[in-house]
Subunit: 541 residues, 2 copies
């Protein structure tokens, strides 16, 4: 059996294999596709993987890793090196389809224990071998590339255990390589949930959540990952940092917070203690609303989050473009109810969906949902039942898997996201649409999915036909313009995807020189020889 | 008029002038005092302030500050230097009474503007003059001492303005020298509250809250200060750090968090943007409960906070010793109700008070309070009405002012606090009582006042007759033993007082060498010449 690029660019998830017929219809319409566009897969990546760059590890170095971790835990073949050379950023997938592997590691090593991992860090530090910690490989920021080669250090194979569920403290201690589903399943069995469900949940790890500073779909209630971490154990070239489990402290600034968002540049997160929550899905209360405009939906959302009567856990608005696509792909477009909505003034191109789910104790979820319903109605929303949000939840991880079938059809798609205060939110939203509208046959869907009293996250998904023969530059230019637009209008560089190598060029302008110098200084302390995920991540060297 | 030590050791608050007769009765009884102990003030500190250490500033240096800030904003007389040489730590007050000023600054400077402040930092960095930022001087950790002399930099005189109340974002931007009451008053006028009410509130500043990583009495609902800060502007010897206002980000680790708990060692916090809340005191719901034991009260509190039905804002338990003193000083002891309680099995020496207040939208506060009542009753508590907690709130800042009249009677008193997980909480509580009980005629009152799903804060107040003639060493030994006891049993070094110079000796053992090295490295980056609050704070040089 050949090992092809195509095996790498796909998740291996069956949801990638076909696109829903209604979605096909929308795509055909939006992008003016012909039958022939569906006959062959564009840039299918079906060729066997062959790397140009040989592994630059010396034989004695490779031997070291094999002796330490065992032959079965060290790979240096082309396919393994290619597979661990990237995450799931659009440009990385495009490279695979173009048979390009620009930044492969020299080998892939899966340590069996904490002690082995410490020895690997010490050895790499002595030998000057780069180390790139790898979790679920769902990074969309180029954070897993190995431009200077080195070792892709895989934590998922062995360092993936739950160490303790502490029912008194409502915390769980895990090894960082554990996957979201494995953690959640075990917690559920004990009556708990982690409360952290990023879209990448099914192919993500706790270490990745922390390193990339992620947010889950229920973050409005449970917080982002930085609200969940109680203690960390991290192996750095400057030694092991292990913090203790306290509910809060005032013993100087919190050292463990340096690693939340560090993206592998300071050390390897090997253990984490997280807050957990009661698992009572039967208590969750759901509501879906429709507003006549995005502006009204945003005003309603702002009001709901600022009222101080308890917060929803899941809280989303889709802007008119996303709402229209949702109506079409769910077969709701032109249904009886749709015609009714139109008659009531909820018009395509204007109307915006809002989804709410409240978790917790039974009376509480009912209470908060009722308050939200009242506020939403005052804000001119129409309640449209539980079922739309429940349907959304049923397929909430799926849309990520659609990217590869879309690419097979010659369509580029990517997502960007930003955090912005209420004051500037509509400005960023409007500017992004204005920018994207300049490109022909391009769809931009925006939603708000993580909500705070002071502002929210805007999440951008764009789809556009590839410029055939110039796919890479075309994407890079378009992507750059969108990031610029968000930045110039007051959005943050990221709310939860992280920075990686993709957004790194914006870091200094964004943070300012004196703040970048702080990142450099901390990096220098933990990693004086620059072996930890070197070569651009976070705008570091 | 003479300027005496006594003027420094007191807050100047009229509540310091006399002690409540019921409290006198308790003190007389507990410490076996005679009438003569009340006749003269012990170590009254009524002598005029005369410093042994002359100011070590050179004339041209003093001139620089005077030219820059104006004569009226630069003081180098003995009284001013003594006044700004300390906070309100017991040992500092004792020094004043013994006419000792071990660590005075060389001068006191109050810059009029941000630009002046930047010039002062630049100049001091060039000249190697230490800078100690001063807020409300309510520090109880020795963080304001100037063991290497230098400038006490006062922000309260000029840099004390509200810059903007942002009603869209529910944030306020202020200069760091603003006092708690000034901020709160203006916010209230606009329908908001800061939600941060440390016991030192009346004599504290926003800069101090942040630098010392404080917590307010409503922190269970509103969070600690680190949950409130959205953005900071800080002047450091390495340049100005200014972060932008975003609800959340994932653009690397958060640089502004380094300054929360930095205690003046990295730079001077000059501006802060904080989340604010709706001010609707008429909505607040109150409840007081009594439990038959501290263990039952703790179990009830843990249950309430872990149920996920909304949290109280104020949430406290007094342990049996604190409960007994509260009964006595409120004149409740042996009242009809007290006898009733005893008859029902709520016995002195065992029973524990719980206070609850829920803030927010009206229905919400009622809803949450009802849930809490139900949980508390299931946990065998008896509801004893609103009035005890309301009375407590009326005098919630007062007990701090009692320390000086107690010292006048020859009684030492101090407070310590720690954060600890539920798992270890009773162990720390028990160990602290066991330690203190070894000292004759000593009272230890413990309460829990900041509550998290994973644990809580334990707050210790002790009172004991001074060992006359050996006051300093006696206190230091006793204090050290209590800190050791807390640490050894799993409590953090501090939950919200901070570390300062008093707890600094425990830092390395507590954090570990590799974590202390991180503090050192960050310090070195921001302050290579070690001018920012040098000489021991946080365990730094």
């Amino acid at each position: 059996m050949d090992y092809t690029y195509r095996q790498i660019l796909k998740w291996g998830d069956k949801r990638e294999e076909k696109v829903d017929p209604l979605m096909i219809k929308v795509i055909r319409e939006k992008f003016d596709l012909k039958d022939s566009d569906f006959e062959t897969k564009y840039l299918s990546g079906s060729q066997p993987v062959i790397l140009e760059k040989p592994s630059s590890l010396k034989p004695h170095q490779l031997d070291f890793f094999k002796r330490l971790a065992g032959d079965e835990n060290v790979q240096s073949d082309d396919f393994s090196r290619a597979k661990f050379s990237c995450g799931k950023f659009y440009a990385e997938l495009l490279d695979m389809r173009l048979n390009l592997v620009p930044n492969p590691p020299d080998a892939v090593v899966s340590p069996k224990s904490f002690d082995e991992l410490v020895k690997i860090v010490e050895y790499c530090n002595q030998e000057g071998i780069p180390l790139i910690p790898v979790g679920g490989q769902s990074s969309v920021t180029g954070a897993l590339q190995a431009p200077q080669g080195g070792i892709a250090l895989v934590l998922t194979k062995h360092l993936n255990k739950i160490e303790r569920i502490n029912t008194a403290n409502k915390t769980v201690s895990v090894q960082a390589g554990i996957s979201g589903p494995a953690l959640e399943e075990e917690l559920n069995r004990h009556g708990f949930t982690c409360g952290h469900f990023p879209q990448s949940f099914e192919y993500s790890t706790v270490g990745g959540w922390i390193a990339a500073k992620g947010a889950g779909q229920a973050s409005t209630g449970y917080g982002k990952i930085e609200d969940m971490v109680v203690a960390l154990k991290v192996v750095t070239p400057a030694g092991v940092i292990e913090t203790k489990e306290y509910p809060r402290t005032a013993q100087g600034w919190d050292i463990f917070r340096l690693f939340i968002g560090s993206e592998g540049t300071l050390g390897i997160i090997v253990e984490a203690t997280l807050n957990i929550h009661n698992y009572r899905p039967q208590n969750t209360s759901y509501a879906s609303f429709i507003f006549k405009s995005f502006e009204q939906a945003v005003a309603g959302m702002q009001k709901i989050i600022q009222c101080e009567y308890g917060k929803p856990h899941l809280f989303r608005i889709s802007d008119p473009d996303e709402t229209d696509i949702a109506f079409k792909t769910k077969g709701f477009d032109n249904s009886f109810s749709d015609r009714l909505l139109k008659g009531l003034g909820f018009l395509p191109g204007k109307r915006s969906l809002m989804f709410v789910a409240v978790e917790g104790e039974k009376d509480f979820t009912k209470f908060v949902l009722n308050k939200i319903k009242r506020t939403a109605r005052k804000g001119k929303a129409m309640y449209i039942g539980k079922s739309p949000v429940k349907k959304w939840i049923d397929q909430r991880y799926s849309s990520a898997y659609m990217r590869d079938p879309l690419m097979d059809m010659g369509i580029m798609s990517d997502t960007l996201e930003t955090a912005v205060t209420w004051e500037k939110l509509l400005k960023v939203w409007y500017a992004a649409h204005t920018y994207v509208n300049k490109r022909p046959k391009t769809v931009l869907m925006i939603h708000i999915s993580h909500v705070y009293e002071s502002g929210a996250n805007l999440y951008f998904t764009f789809l556009s036909p590839m410029e055939k023969g110039n796919e890479k530059n075309d994407f890079a230019d378009f992507h750059k313009g969108l990031v610029d637009t968000i930045q110039e209008n007051g959005g943050s560089l990221s709310h939860h995807h992280g920075v990686g190598r993709v957004l790194a060029p914006w870091m200094e302008a964004h943070l300012g020189r004196s703040s970048m110098a702080v990142l450099d200084a901390v990096k220098k302390h933990f990693d004086p020889n620059n072996i930890m995920n070197p070569g651009g991540t976070l705008g570091l060297k």
